[in-house]
């Protein structure tokens, strides 16, 4: 399978990339790791007139502490993230999620910026970024702006990214001492995408949940924050019975996906089961 023809550009800075994106017209696409875009181009589901290859921009691939946050350059690969000592020290769920993305080959090429820009409803990072209260920085012809992860995912392959903008950075606050995080996932057996993925960031004390943020992926047409579930467990003792009871409100009121891998009812059931598992894992 061969993609249709396109013009190829390789900028070395973000500003150059923004200019190229404007000049190349509306059918141009940004190419990061290419592990969603190139398969789609091979299947001719996507035929961009031009590709702007971001891999030549060295200033987009870093993971560093900035004040009380971890800043991850958008072109960091999944492997860069799970291998980072900084991420390993503070964000267990990012390591758990990243090591379950695709396979070694995919993790070597795929990037966090590419993943969230694509916004596959079953991708792993979005649930984590929502639970971690991350912010996403974008740069475009009108300058730089930042959007909270929970406001970034707007629908099926649809995000707050405007035309002409490039995701430059993901910033995650370093969790307060005593906070634990987890990501658990029910895999689609072939693609390894999440049929249900649940990320939890929780602070507990004396076996009681003090604060919690929950992000889901795979369940609906976009990743979302589950505040009903958070409210159901906050302030409660993290007993098996309480967690089980709280998990019954998981994904309540959401439009649940159904396909030939998991029906709507089964997916909702999985969301409840995996919510409980994720909460226990972060206890």
């Amino acid at each position: 399978m061969i993609p249709s023809s396109f013009a190829y550009h390789k900028p070395s800075t973000v500003d150059e990339a923004i200019q190229m994106l404007q000049d190349a017209g509306e059918d141009a696409k940004l190419l990061a790791g290419g592990h969603s875009l190139i398969p789609a181009m091979k299947l001719r589901m996507n035929s961009p007139s031009a590709l702007i290859d971001l891999r030549g921009i060295s200033g987009l691939r870093y993971i560093r502490q900035e004040g009380n946050a971890i800043a991850i350059g958008a072109a960091s690969t999944h492997h860069d993230i799970i291998d980072s000592n900084l991420v390993q020290s503070h964000l267990a769920m990012m390591v758990q999620a990243g090591s379950q993305i695709g396979d070694i080959q995919v993790r070597n090429m795929g990037t966090i910026g590419g993943s969230i820009a694509h916004a596959d409803p079953a991708a792993d990072w979005p649930a984590c970024l929502i639970a971690a209260d991350a912010s996403i920085e974008m740069k475009g012809p009108n300058g730089t702006r930042t959007v909270a992860a929970e406001d970034f995912f707007l629908g099926l392959y649809y995000t707050a990214l405007e035309e002409g903008e490039i995701i430059t950075e993901v910033k995650i606050p370093i969790p307060a001492p005593g906070t634990k995080s987890s990501y658990v996932k029910f895999h689609q057996p072939a693609s390894r995408f999440a049929i249900v993925g649940c990320a939890v960031m929780m602070k507990s004390s004396g076996g009681t949940c003090q604060s919690i943020r929950v992000g889901f992926t795979g369940v609906s047409d976009m990743a979302f924050r589950d505040t009903d579930l958070e409210d159901a467990i906050r302030g409660k003792e993290l007993s098996a019975a309480n967690v089980e009871a709280a998990s019954q409100v998981a994904a309540a009121g959401k439009d649940i996906l159904g396909d030939h891998f998991a029906s709507t009812d089964y997916r909702l059931h999985l969301a409840r089961v995996f919510a409980a598992r994720a909460i226990h894992a972060a206890s």
Binding site: S5, I38, Q105, M109
Partner: protein
């Protein structure tokens, strides 16, 4: 419209004019004649086309040749040195890790990336590392044994 690329393939600098849409696997096989890298599923799933790009295992059916411009690429043809098989190659032979052999080049290149990161992997770690490589003879058992044998020889 050709784009000029320079790729170091198995230690040799290769200059080519390529179409932007040319996939790395077709560049290796058709332009350079290195047919040891196989096209299996052609949909980023099976891993038969795995090569090392700057030391990292990559599915060459999911990468453009132009993306490899300036990179070092290693294929199965570059594993043997001075006529001696690489320990992964000889171990696949010793442990009967090949059945039909179609998936073998990809298996070996992924295993090379694994052993680079983890010189003494457990059986579970090896099986996890091979998630992106399919053997339709279902010969995984001896493939795992071959990688364990190679790990012993390499340490």
């Amino acid at each position: 419209m050709g784009i000029s690329i320079e790729v170091n393939v198995n230690g040799e600098k290769r200059h080519s004019e390529v179409d932007a849409r040319l996939l790395l696997v077709h560049y290796l096989r058709d332009t350079l004649g290195l047919t040891g890298t196989h096209v299996g599923c052609d949909t980023s799933n099976c891993g038969a086309c795995t090569v090392l790009v700057d030391g990292k295992a990559v599915k060459s059916c999911t990468m453009l040749a132009v993306q490899a411009n300036g990179a070092e690429v290693k294929t199965i043809e570059g594993m043997a040195e001075n006529g001696e098989l690489h320990p992964l190659q000889s171990s696949f032979k010793e442990a009967h890790g090949l059945q039909c052999g179609f998936c073998t080049p990809g298996m070996i290149m992924t295993a090379a990336n694994l052993l680079e990161r983890n010189s003494n992997p457990s059986e579970e770690e090896i099986r996890h590392a091979l998630e992106g490589n399919f053997c339709r003879c279902t010969g995984y058992h001896n493939i795992v044994k071959a990688i364990q044998l190679a790990a012993q020889q390499l340490t």
